[in-house]
Structures are given as structure tokens and as C-alpha cells.
């Protein structure tokens, strides 16, 4: 039980760091769902990122939990999150570029790369700070690689 509360406390700390995120109104449900998915990813990456930056103390249980959440999300089947017409040219409130629908195989491959990196992270996140730091970088790399091609500049 104290272990669980410690994880909660770390989660709360991450929430404080990440601040409030404004939720856009009346977006189609799939868009809200995928944006929620990315927020869950950011929240869990934040738990690990704050440890990696030395802003919070390394906690093996919290690190494992966060990494495991990322791996879980990577396993969500994306079929229902990306219906045609929900790109940034068709909708306000999304930065998803039409290129996603022009290159569905590459987009899927990049999501798969995130899964591979998340799996490697989950395998080591509880075994010490240095290993977690080394495995977190590639996860961030897969986020950036996809944003690079498929997310609109601000």
C-alpha cells in the first residue's frame, strides 16, 4: 500500500509539472480519443522525464509503472482513432497532417517504432536510473520522428 501511494504521489507531481491542458470543444470523438491517448503518453513520459532530468528522485516502482503504461498504450489498436477527414486541413483543433492518410503504412510503422522503443524501456525502467535514461531517449526519438512528418507546426 505505501508503494502504491508513492506511485500516486509521483503521478501527482507529474500532473503539477505538466500543468493544465485546455480541451478543445466539439471535436469528433475519435479526435478527442487520440488526443487523450497522447496526453496519457505525455503524462507517463513526464514521470520518467523528470527523473531522467534529475528533477525528481528515481523511483523504480513509479518508473516501471510509467513505462508499462507507455507499452500498454502502444498496444492499442489505432484503427478507430484516425477516420478520414479528421486532418488539420479539414478540422480546427487538430494538428494531424493529411500526410497521415497519404502514407498510412509509414504512419503505422512509426507507431510500431514507438511500441518497440516502449518495450525496451519497460524492460529496464525498474532496474536503475541510467538504464531508464538510456532507454527513454529512443522513445522520445520515435515521438519526434512521427511529429516530424505528420504533425503540423504550432
Amino acid at each position: 500500500m505505501p508503494r502504491f501511494s508513492k506511485i500516486i504521489a509521483t503521478g501527482l507531481a507529474a500532473l503539477t509539472f505538466s500543468g493544465a491542458v485546455a480541451v478543445a470543444q466539439d471535436l469528433p470523438a475519435p479526435v478527442e480519443a487520440r488526443q487523450g491517448q497522447f496526453r496519457i503518453m505525455a503524462l507517463n513520459i513526464g514521470v520518467l522525464g523528470q527523473m531522467a532530468r534529475g528533477n525528481t528522485e528515481y523511483d523504480a516502482d513509479a518508473a516501471s509503472a510509467a513505462a508499462s503504461n507507455l507499452l500498454t498504450i502502444s498496444m492499442l489498436n489505432q484503427s478507430f482513432h484516425w477516420p478520414e477527414g479528421t486532418d488539420s486541413f479539414g478540422l480546427d483543433g487538430t494538428r494531424a497532417l493529411p500526410a497521415i492518410w497519404e502514407n498510412p503504412e509509414d504512419f503505422a510503422a512509426k507507431w510500431g517504432d514507438f511500441g518497440t522503443a516502449a518495450e525496451a524501456l519497460a524492460a529496464v525502467a525498474g532496474d536503475g536510473l541510467e538504464g531508464m535514461q538510456a532507454a527513454l531517449g529512443p522513445v522520445g526519438g520515435t515521438c519526434g520522428a512521427c511529429h516530424d512528418d505528420y504533425r503540423e507546426a504550432q
Partner: protein
Amino acid sequence: MGRFFGILVALGALGLAAFWVLTRPDHVTEAEVAGLTGDAAAGEAIFWAGGCASCHADAEAEGEERLILSGGEGLVSDFGTFYPPNISPDPEHGIGGWTLAEFVTAMQNGISPEGRHYYPAFPYPAYRLAERQDLADLFAFLQTLPEDDTESPAHEVGFPFNIRRAVGGWNLLYLSDDYVVQGELSAEEARGRYLAEALAHCGECHTPRDALGGPDRAAWLTGAPNPTGTGRIPALTPDELRWSTTEIAAYLNDGFTPSFDSAGGHMRSVILNLANLPDADRQAIAAYLKVLPPAQN
């Protein structure tokens, strides 16, 4: 009437002559750089701060591949598409045959060894402010990188922008030997200004441009339309970018925003470069951003 016409022709000829002289390619001489000895190890930091790999390596390159400067993805602009050339040490297709004076001339005056103006898609207006010792070190570092024999593609630029001499006029309008941010700066802020203005050329994307493509120095780093796509490149001024200096420095290292969103677009490549610098340099860039004039004057 004939006399008036004669004067007009004479004035026109004088104007043309003046333009011809003023836009003449300006070469750095061997004598000016004779005292410099490049240190390749020191040059690596200049290489990463200067962001060379972002444009001159293949766009998809990762890790060690970013040191193969075979030429990169075309930069699309209102004036045409510019292809960053091969700058690997290949003597025929790259810069292996260059002298230090030719390199400094290219980096600071935007002039090729053949005496042609480069287009300012190449950020020589920034590198112009760099220390020549740093450029000598960078030149020495570049010579240690792998040779590549990819031929540099020709730029796709239509009339009138394909008149290279016109770039000399552009240089007259926009080249400056002064930093944009002036006034009293701490040593750290001054270091950040050197990194941001002379090397990392942040202003190329984060500062709006006028109709001739020149940077609007009065709106320095206040954000601009995305040159390579839709959306906007964000403002970096302290009234807009409210992250702490620690958060900015951390972002420039690991690519995560304070809410752990992940950088995308060209900034991802910039961060891959800046992550190779000492932390003090990323802190210095952050300190410099905090002394920028606000976007909302």
C-alpha cells in the same frame, strides 16, 4: 532634349556601375587567415552549434549518418527550391579541395570559391558574426568527416531570382556585422547570443521575413509562418515562451517540452545537434532568450 537624354544615360550607366561595384563578391584573403590553425576537436562543438548536419546530411539520417554531409533535402521557399550542397571532404563533389580562406569567404560573405554569390538559404548572414578561429576549427573538423561523392543538384529558382548578382544587392540590404540584441549582457547571455545569432541561426525560422526574404530584425525571434509547410514557427521572446531557463535548456537537450510533449519538425533536428553541446551552452541560449525584446511592443 538630347542633352537631357545624355545625362539620363550617363546617370543610368553610373548607377549600373555603382551596383556592379557594390555587389562585387568580397573575398577573404589567404593573408587574413594565415595566423589561424584549426583544431578539429574544438571544431566539433562549432559543427553541432552551427547546425550543419540539419541541412547538409540526408533528412532521414540518424546517429553517425548525420556526419555524412552529402547534401540534404531541398528547402522550399517563395523564391524557389534550394538544395543544400555536398560539403563532405570529397575533393571533387564536396569541399575537400578548398582553402581556409575560401571556406571563411563562403561562411561569412556568402561567396563560392568560383566567385559566385550563394543564396541566403545558406545562413552566412549568421555565420558572418562567428569568430574566425571557430571557423578554422570547424573547417578542420569537417575535413575529418567521411567523403561522399554525391553530386549537388542545381537549385530550382526562376527568373529573376536566378540572377546571382542580385544576391549582392540583397547582401547590401541585409548583411550586418552587428548582433540584433544590443545592450549590457552578462557573460552567459553574451555566450547565448553568440550561439543563437552567430552559429545556431535560430532567426532563420523564428524571425519573420519581408517581401525580399530579409529578416525583420525589429521582430527578432517573434515567430513566423512555417517556411516548409503549414502552421507557425513559435515566438521565442520571454512574453511568449514562458518556460523557465532550466526548462528551455532541458528541452534543447532531450526534446521534451515542460508538459512532455515531444518536439517535431525541423526543431527535432536542431535538438539532435544542440544535445551534443555542454549543458552550460544550452543554459546560455536559454538565458539569451530571456533578454529578448518582447514580441508585443
